[in-house]
């Protein structure tokens, strides 16, 4: 006789909401006539993400483990879930933008039509859209939310796949520059599969060493039996898989190509939400499962953080494409986030709260920055070459001002959320004595600041090119996204107190 496991429906409600919306979306795709699909799908995706967001807020303060120990409902998890759902909703708004592209969407009309074929050219200006992106993105949001709450390596792995698979797909659905987009999707898929293999291998080794896949069980085993070679190898391979998703150097190589090739709204989604999800899982793995053996992974994370910061900052210097530049910025930020992970010390450190705050701040700023990228367009779609942004401030002072502000936030200038976030993680690192890491982080911040400022200088102090790009007038969705992200970046920079407190209160992991 099988005993039914305890399932707390309330604890599962965010997932039910998000996955439910995605499933209804698939049904809509199958049965609804084409002309109602776009509005319906947008509405559904928003209901799903916003509903998931609301559910996590309602759950705030809970601390329990449910679904036979497979799911942790705790402060940190809920904070990250809310972050992911919120950023997901913003990304869905970007997906839904109809005013910028002459064909009224950034997504392809029919993905199966070979790129460059006569039919493809015919469809380029067609207002039809592959509306499957909405349920797919919603699935990805669900996977990410599960990823940060997984209290079991197996659930974590499946969540990893649930979040990755839709991303691989929607990366390839750009309406313009389709070959580049498809190439990005294939690269992301192949490398993602490679990374998943590492994760799975690590999972197997950890299971072999401890006989369990539950984080709490692993922690117990680590505490009781110490760390054997098998366990440590497994840990290493798990970390490789997670670092890939977080685009931490040296597992970052996919990032620039995929960020560049994917449709920009998808890039915004990936850059913000995937980062949050990956770091949520990293925090959970390192602190819940291996928290009592932090001496094993601390030097490793220390080193990886330095590599990532240096690689991101240095390689960003010579980029000539805005999206690639932001990709390297994302790699550097992954390094900064890892300093927060280092600053996590059992009980005393403020690293967890700092990392949570940083993720929120970075996610909002990044979505905003990519939203600005969608505005600057020429005849071939988005104008992402840096040279094309020259003199943008003359053409559209407001756009340039918003971009400047967001770039300053990414650079970590005071009175922006970036400063508060960096300050928090560096401080957390210093608190546990990792001041050399903080010094490296400061230096690389300065180097990274150079390429952000280069774009600012380009926008303000260069003559605009004759046939330069124009700045599209965004519709309501993108306007909302820009308003929210800019306001949040400002508020988190000027009055971060309450959110820092919130992160502080949420900084709790159960397992």
């Amino acid at each position: 006789m099988i005993e039914a496991p305890d399932l707390s429906l309330s604890a599962l409600s965010p997932f039910l909401f998000v996955f439910g919306a995605a499933l209804v979306g698939v049904l809509v795709e199958s049965f609804a006539p084409r002309h109602v699909r776009q509005p319906t799908q947008v509405a559904l995706a928003l209901v799903g993400t916003v509903g998931g967001f609301a559910c996590t807020l309602l759950l705030a303060g809970r601390g329990e483990v449910t679904a036979a120990g497979a799911l942790a409902v705790d402060g940190a998890g809920l904070f990250l879930q809310a972050t992911i759902a919120g950023l997901g909703a913003l990304s869905v708004l970007l997906f839904a933008e109809r005013a910028l592209d002459p064909a009224r969407s950034a997504f392809v009309a029919s993905a199966a039509v070979p790129a460059g074929s006569p039919r493809d050219r015919e469809l380029l200006t067609d207002e039809r859209v592959q509306t499957e992106v909405y349920p797919l993105a919603t699935f990805a949001v669900g996977g990410m939310m599960l990823f940060v709450a997984a209290n079991d390596l197996l659930v974590m792995f499946i969540a990893l796949e649930v979040l990755s698979l839709p991303l691989y797909l929607i990366c390839g659905l750009s309406r313009r520059r389709r070959l580049l987009s498809q190439e990005a999707a294939v690269k992301y898929f192949l490398l993602g599969a490679f990374a998943s293999a590492f994760f799975l291998y690590g999972l197997a080794l950890v299971y072999g060493a401890t006989g369990t896949v539950q984080l709490a069980g692993i922690r117990q085993s680590v505490t009781d039996d110490g760390t054997g070679t098998l366990l440590v190898l497994g840990l290493g391979l798990l970390v490789v898989g997670l670092m890939f998703k977080a685009s931490v150097a040296p597992f970052h190589t996919w990032t620039p190509d995929v960020y560049q090739g994917a449709p920009t709204p998808v890039t915004a989604f990936m850059a913000a939400c995937t980062k949050v999800a990956a770091f949520g899982a990293i925090l959970r793995l390192l602190y819940v499962a291996f928290g009592t053996a932090d001496w094993t992974w601390r030097p490793l994370v220390y080193g990886i953080a330095i590599v990532s910061m240096v690689v991101g900052a240095v390689l960003g210097l010579t980029q000539t494409d805005v999206k690639r530049m932001l990709a390297y910025s994302s790699i550097a930020h992954a390094g900064f986030l890892l300093t927060g992970v280092i600053g996590l010390d059992a009980g005393t450190g403020s690293g967890l709260a700092a990392t949570l705050f940083y993720l929120l701040a970075y996610g909002l700023t990044t979505v905003g920055a990519f939203a600005v990228v969608t505005l600057v367009r020429d005849g071939d779609g988005e104008a992402t070459a840096l040279a094309q942004w020259a003199g943008l401030a003359r053409r559209s002072p407001l756009t340039a001002a918003i971009m400047t502000f967001l770039l300053l936030a990414l650079a970590g200038i005071p009175l922006t959320s970036g400063f508060t976030g960096k300050f928090a993680v560096f401080r957390a690192a210093i608190e546990v004595g990792a001041w050399p890491l903080a010094v490296v982080a400061l230096v690389t911040s300065a180097v990274a600041g150079f390429f952000y400022l280069r774009l600012v200088v380009l926008m303000y102090f260069s003559e605009p090119a004759e046939d330069g790009p124009s700045v599209g007038v965004p519709g309501l969705p993108t306007t909302i996204v820009l308003a929210v992200t800019v306001a949040a970046t400002l508020v988190l920079g000027v009055v971060p107190g309450s959110v820092l407190d919130l992160a502080d209160g949420a900084a709790r992991l159960v397992g």
Partner: protein, 635 residues
Amino acid sequence: MDTVPATGLLASSWLLIALPLAGAAVLLLGGRRTDRWGHLLAIGTVTAAFVLAVLSTVELAGLDERSVGVDLFTFISTGRLDVGAGLLVDPLSMTFALLITGVGALIHVYSVGYMAHDPGRRRFFAYLNLFVAAMLLLVLGDSFVALYVGWEGVGLASYLLIAFWYTRPAAATAAKKAFVMNRVGDVGLALAIFLMFTQLGTTSYEGVFGSVGLLAGGTVTGIGLLLLLGACGKSGQFPLQAWLPDAMEGPTPVSALIHAATMVTAGVYLIARSAPLFDAAPVAQTVVVVIGAVTIMIGAVAGCAYDDIKKVLAWSTVSQIGYMFLAVGLGPVGYAAGIAHLLTHGFFKAGLFLGAGSVMHGMGDRTDMRRFGGLATRMRTTFVTFGLGYLALIGFPFLSGYWTKDAIIEAAFDRGGTSGWVLGGVAVLGAGLTAFYMTRLVLLTFFGEPRWEDGVHPHESPAVMTLPMVVLAVGSVGAGFLLVEAFPLADWLAPVFGEPEEATAHAIPPLAVSVLVTVVVALGVLTAWLLVGRREVPTTAPARVSAPVRAARAGLYADAVNEAVFMRPGIRLVRALRVVDDKGVDGVVNGIGAGLGGSSARLGRAQTGFVRSYALGMLGGAVLVAGALLAVTAG
């Protein structure tokens, strides 16, 4: 000084700052769309702030504990670092808030007329709003850091407004000069704040003043002198006075608001606010007094020699702020007197500047008084309001200046001893000189034969300009009596500076001082009439003049001294540094830059675009990770 948490209306005193700031933001970001109604919005925000300030003051007056702290937000509160921002609403700050918003609102209204035909009117109002917000932050902030932010904010607004007509080289140069000389002062202020922070770990007024006693005497004196340096820069006091007359290149409303009524008095506010610090540092206090006295004389002497109506008023401002410095340097007896003079000065000097602006408006933007004359009949309202402001400034009995300036002179004599006599004497002499140069100004401008250039048709300004002048003239007449006799400012400010102590033993009886000053003033007026009023005024300044006049015309050679003592060696130092910089620092920096760029390019080559090479990189990373972990656990 105990601060209680804010309640009621006072809790929303942040709106005082937020309103004009929002106005500036809308105007600057809104672009041309706001051209048509932008100035109205600007007036609206400042007026609303004024109304709020009045209501808050009424509420504050009703409280027992008239010092209210408003916690705005905690910027970063972690461990031992607690960076927050709050407002301090107390009689002193509210007094300033009233002055800034009240005079500010009037000048906004005036500017509608004055800038009516300027294409940059929206920009002008945006900057004015920005200035008001920054100035309010300066006076309302509850810590030296908040004050510093406001301090830099008003500096920025001042720079932008002096250079408002930036296409004129003179305006651009003047703005640069103001900016640079202010920087000198700002460095002092910044160093003072650093010193406080390192010594006390806090920069809030409450924290600093509460623990002044813990500091060594030398440190307090150092902080005091550094604060004074900051105050001198902002308020145009010796030795940093030279920028203020040049700042008259800005539009006249700016001169009235920023360079007469409010910003330049920030130095006085700083010293008054830091009263507990200065009370503990007698040396610094003495330096304040000396600087005040020296500046009174410099301003008064230079004011006698200029022919440009705005520059004369500017030197007069320098000199009057000297009086305020003198007052606040005298310690507890002088704080309230200094602030009272600051307020009345705000009224009459703003009124005078607006009058001057009105004259310029009528005379086609000319400022040379030798080309004026006989305007009393052509511009009646301007003449009457200007005249009242003039009488208030020279201390005509029972007008504003009489009450407040006399109080300062009295306090100077009361200091006692030789220094008391010297300071009092200087103050009295300054009053006489003031009477002289102001009478000269009025005679040259409004009386005598018209000496207008061809094509000038003086006319009265529109009502939107004269109305603020009338209001300010009323203030010039009545404010002094109200502040000194009817509702003594000293009582109102008691929570900040302590109960006013009745001076028991006067060195000279107050009545005698009044009589003395009045007589000296009368002498000044008479001299001016004899020298200017009765004679034919040449339309060009005589070239053959005595050495003192030449010196006065050159602003007592302040620029020359600055050039010889600071600028030339400075330039030489900069040149030397540049060699070091080019060869050494730049070499290193460029080297690092090139190195980074090169390594970036080299590292970038790993980004081949081929999935298999990316996968190889990941595999390499995985080997490193596994190896590192094994090494750590094995080792």
